[in-house]
């Protein structure tokens, strides 16, 4: 009876409205998420044009890069310049009355702007750039961020990305993703080869980092953001054949190492969070299983063990390093599983569909994104690790011919707000990004080549 009374009291106290200390309270509940209106007038050139004739190109790079970053951040709606009431070219970067020729907050609050970004730049020489920028919170007429960046003129885009990262940090307290990169395999080099490419997250600075004249695939980032691992079908003169060997490559020094050339598959590598171990699939002429080794390729430990004849591939290490997600066909069809880092406590986490693969962990370790096929094509899905019923389809696209497009190879961004993947909706396997709620999809690579298995880098300092 006492328990029943306690239960009733507990239920009553959990109601939204209650009256303790004679006051009536209401919990309003979670707010709806809205985007903030931001005004970003053109940058003002503060220097002497004769010093750097190419200043317009530099200013354009700065402005367009920031504009794109703001758009992709999904936090802002950018107010069109036609709505502006003030000509930014005729007023200063700072507000009146402190600056007699400063801008007026009323001009921006009247059009509903919540943020105002005022920036100017000058060229001290044809190669030296100085970018001065201020961000104001208009409703309170407060400065959020004010900085002067000095860089080489050739680094205008990096400077712009750095400002965008600083703005994210100032507003959300979390780092921005605008200086992160992608690594992916591509047939861009022709001759049916696939080589490895590293590019900025927005698809710019697409650089080929392998030249094996072979099939190179499944790249991965080391947590330091400096080294990548990948598999390439390297020629073995003694065997007179090619073998899928594992390499690492330092993208800053250009140093390359052969890590594992064991007979059979050495592929699908992933680094442990401390960067000291590599988890990968090795077959050694038998069924492919998941192994762990150090970055030199030694101290090999077997993590999965069969069942005989089954595949255990595509390991993805959880952010805390305690779990490994992987694909296996041990149930008859490929599905996603998770296990402890030592291979114990194997648990199947996908049951729906015909073919589920390519798992990638969210940075908080709560979700896994994977590519799943239920009819004739692949789409991206997220599933909560602690609640397998919480599954969401993120993608759905048609090709130009009207069939369902394949959306595959997902990888989470380091801030957990975006996912990079490939899609063949244009007829070619191109790189796209999407927010984790399945909105704000955008194409990153725009060329006539194919890209495979893109991986989003960690934060790069």
């Amino acid at each position: 009876m006492k328990f029943f009374i306690f239960l009733v009291l507990a239920l009553l106290s959990s109601m939204t409205s209650f009256a303790d200390d004679d006051k009536i309270y209401i919990n309003v509940g979670q707010a709806k998420v809205k985007k903030s209106l931001v005004a970003f007038p053109p940058l003002v050139f503060l220097g002497t044009p004769s010093v750097a004739p190419g200043f317009k190109q530099v200013g354009g790079d700065l402005f367009n890069t920031i504009l794109n970053d703001l758009d992709v951040s999904n936090l802002f709606t950018i107010i069109k310049q036609q709505a502006y009431l003030e000509d930014s070219a005729k007023v200063g970067l700072t507000p009146a009355p402190g600056n007699p020729n400063g801008f007026h907050f009323e001009s921006w609050s009247k059009i509903g702007s919540e943020f105002l970004i005022r920036g100017g730049y000058k060229m001290k020489s044809p190669t030296d750039l100085e970018f001065e920028v201020y961000v104001y919170y208009v409703p309170q007429a407060k400065l959020v961020l004010g900085k002067i960046y000095a860089a080489k003129a050739s680094e205008a885009r990096v400077t712009a990305h750095t400002f965008s990262d600083d703005l994210m940090k100032a507003l959300t307290g979390k780092r921005g993703i605008f200086r992160t990169k992608f690594v992916a395999a591509s047939d861009k080099a022709g001759n049916k080869w696939k080589e490895i490419y590293v590019m900025d997250w927005d698809g710019r600075n697409n650089i080929q980092v392998t030249n094996h004249h072979s099939i190179s695939l499944s790249p991965a980032w080391r947590p330091d953001g400096k080294t990548i691992s990948y598999t390439s079908f390297a020629y073995h003169p003694n065997l007179k054949s090619r073998n899928p060997d594992l390499f690492t490559y330092d993208i800053f020094t250009g140093k390359r190492f052969l890590v594992s050339s064991r007979l059979g598959i050495n592929s699908g590598s992933a680094f442990s969070p401390d960067g000291n171990s590599i988890i990968l699939t090795i077959s050694k002429g038998e069924g492919p299983d998941i192994y762990k080794m150090n970055v030199e390729g030694d101290n090999l430990e077997k993590i999965t063990n069969g069942p005989k004849g089954s595949l255990n591939v595509e390991p993805a290490v959880s952010p805390d390093g305690n779990k490994i997600a992987f694909s296996s066909d041990r149930s008859g069809v490929p599905m996603v599983y998770i296990m402890d880092a030592d291979g114990s406590n194997v648990k199947r986490i996908t049951f729906a569909g015909r073919y589920n693969s390519s798992p990638s962990w969210s940075p908080d370790g709560k979700k896994i994104v994977f590519a799943g096929q239920d009819k004739d094509h692949f789409d991206l899905f997220t599933v909560s690790v602690d609640d397998l019923t919480d599954m969401q389809r993120l993608t759905s696209a048609k090709t130009t011919s009207g069939r369902n497009a394949n959306n595959e190879d997902p990888s989470f961004s380091p801030d957990g707000r975006h996912i990079v993947f490939t899609s063949d909706r244009t007829g070619k396997n191109q790189i796209y990004i999407i927010t984790t709620d399945g909105t704000s999809e955008r194409r990153i690579t725009v060329d006539s080549h194919n890209y495979f298995k893109p991986k989003w880098s960690p934060y790069i300092d």
């Binding site: 006051k23 009536i24 309270y25 309003v28 509940g29 707010a31 709806k32 809205k34 985007k35």
Partner: protein, 255 residues
């Protein structure tokens, strides 16, 4: 006479045969056990992986939830008014004159009977009400006797149906304010919490709002106050709660 025993071949008695077979069986079992025991000790097999059985339901993957832009509420349609048609009065039919005297007499008699019946009913009702009132007074007297020494007054707290009605009103209020409660993603932070006390008049209009607990971030506080301003007028309070929401106010906790 020298008799020679015939060399009859020895036959094994049944008990002996049984014993031998038992010995053979025991030896064979021991040999088997030794063989497999030694094999297991000297040439161990790979460990047998025993996975828990799972039930696999063949189900499809979920469909994509379409994120549609928020629909603007359509303007309320004007009330439907039936078209006014001219009414033509019916033309009375001309009837032949008849003698109505006997019929009028009969009608008067019926009316008299009905009046007497109604008066009787009214009297009965009054009698019943008086009896009920007396019974009530008796019960009240009993109750007063029992509560002697206690001061009983109606009080201001809400109970039973009134409380349920009030909670219903608060629920409507919560939904209403939540509709206007918007926050940019960059301010979505579990640690930010603010409280605003609002005072509402009989029409539901917010007459006063006070930030009683600040979140520590003035931008968050401002947006909480903005939600209150945009939500006013609130749902009209039921008449019996007007004083409560006007004088004591209601504290809104964000989120």
């Amino acid at each position: 006479m020298n008799t020679k025993l015939l060399d009859i071949p020895k036959t094994i008695s049944e008990p002996d045969l049984f014993r031998k077979m038992i010995l053979f069986s025991v030896a064979a079992h021991v040999a088997f056990i030794l063989f497999f025991g030694l094999k297991a000790a000297l040439f161990p097999n790979e460990s047998l992986s025993l996975d828990a059985a799972i039930q696999v339901d063949l189900v499809g993957l979920p469909d994509k939830i379409q994120q549609l832009p928020e629909k603007t509420k359509p303007a309320p349609a004007p009330p439907q008014v039936a078209p006014i048609r001219p009414v033509t009065p019916p033309i009375p039919k001309v009837q032949k004159a008849v003698n109505l005297k006997p019929a009028v007499k009969a009608l008067d008699k019926i009316k008299k009977l009905e009046r007497e019946e109604r008066e009787k009913k009214v009297l009965d009702n009054i009698k019943e009400e008086v009896a009920q009132e007396e019974a009530k007074e008796q019960r009240q007297a009993k109750l007063t006797k029992l509560l002697k020494g206690n001061a009983v007054s109606p009080g201001s707290s809400l109970h039973g149906l009134a409380k349920s009605e009030f909670n219903e009103y608060l629920g409507a209020l919560q939904n209403h304010v939540n509709e206007h409660w918007n926050l940019p993603e960059w301010l979505q932070n579990d640690n930010l919490k603010a409280s605003v006390t609002v005072y509402i008049d009989f029409r539901g209009v917010v007459t006063k709002r006070v930030l009683v607990t600040s979140s520590g971030d003035s931008r968050f506080d401002d947006l909480a106050l903005k939600a209150v301003d945009e939500a006013s007028p609130f749902p009209q309070p039921p008449p019996k709660f007007v004083d409560v929401v006007k004088v004591d106010g209601i504290t809104l906790k964000f989120p």
